[in-house]
Amino acid sequence: MNTNVPMPPPLQPAIGPSPGPGPGSLRPLGDDPDDRISIPGLAGTIEAMLRYPRRVMFHLRAPQSGSLIGLMVLVALFCSLVYGVVVGSFSGESQYWAAPVKIAAGLFISALICLPSLYIFSCLSGSEARLMEVLGLVMGLLALMTILLIGFAPVAWVFSQSTTSIAAMGSLHLVFWAIATYFGLRFLHHGLRHLSGKPAGLRVWVLVFLLVMLQMSTAIRPIVGKSDRFLTNEKKFFIKHWMEQFDGGQAAQPSFRRP
């Protein structure tokens, strides 16, 4: 299967900020022949995300990057749904389909909410990046995050079959999410450095993105535990929700236990 991402012409100049001397300088994308190799199919996209992130960044800057972005969306969607099934296996029943839907939707909505601010931040820092390129990097962030979550899925499954504590399972998923997000943000950071040299305001954006995702996990609750309703109407800040889970989790446990 081919991605239809056209190979850049041989004489295409290397992409990226001008490589200046010094420790912080970046090798321009395309300098290495490895960067120019095409990315074939879903498996190729996953492999490139993990092993050759520069190749992904190079192809995102190519004129027809839409198909690669589409592949990354598919990877992120598929992986988040699979991980969602593992999350849902803790409570079983309707959570087998509700948790995957909520996790996938939550991730994409969070990314879309934060995309405009990243684009504006990027533009204000002097970058000439197109919205499509920034979108590609954000989809790359999601794809890498969810690929890593799939890696953690067997561990999460073992724990979800052993424990009945929502607080413990929620904490474990948060740890996995934090690790996956770290690597995803690292990809985004490298990508933005190639786009704009020094991405100003990225730290602020990362903070906003993390807060949005954490609040999203509370807004679309329950993801780990069970409920009669798909979504709850009660508005709650995520920290308050967590505190309640830790304080009252022990007492409320029996109603959430698997049958």
Binding site: R51, V158, S165
Partner: protein, 241 residues
Amino acid sequence: MIVSVSAVIGRLRSVSSGIAPWDLSDHRRAIPTAIAIVVLGAGTYGAVMGAWREPLQALFTGLKLPLVILLTTLGNTLINAMLAPLLGLHLSLRQSLTAVLFTFALAASLLGSLVPVAIFIVWNLPPLTTTTQLGSFEYSMIQLVLVAFIAGCGVAGNVLFLPVLERQSGSRRVARRVLLCWLLVNLLLGSQITWVLRPFIWDPARPVEFVGPEYLRGSFYETVFNAVRQLILEQLPLHRP
């Protein structure tokens, strides 16, 4: 397939000197050999641990200890293979699986070499009787010494494998980072699998059984967390209602 002991030792020696298992002449046998070393080394050691209670526990622990290692390796195959390239070490899925298996194989071979010492310790301690309690000296001693051996061998196994990762990555920093991440991830899953497959030595509340029904409930980390929480709350009686 019969593999001579000297061939196995030779392979472990090559690995500990920095030659990757997949670079050896008979690299196709690397994974089966590593599994065989784990089963034999950790299995024998486990049998000695369980022998303090009774022969059936020896059999069960002899099976469970290698099972913990193999299930941990299997469960973490994907994430270990993903973490390595992300941290700068380009290994294939098969190579990272072989690498993790060999760190355990090195640890298991060390454990196997300590079997005579473990037998000596078990033989010298007072046997399990109806008066033995969880707080008894002999039980505490057997737990402490035998688990310390496992921890020590685990660390040594990883240190011995470090040259392979260094040679593969060309950087000591990257090799250490990858090995540390693998260790953490293996510790996370390994401790839970160990928790599920307990007891390895003795449980006064249950007869000898491979996996009891109640062992599948709860998690290692929850228990530790609750114990710490209880300990802190007991230290602050004034804050209680």
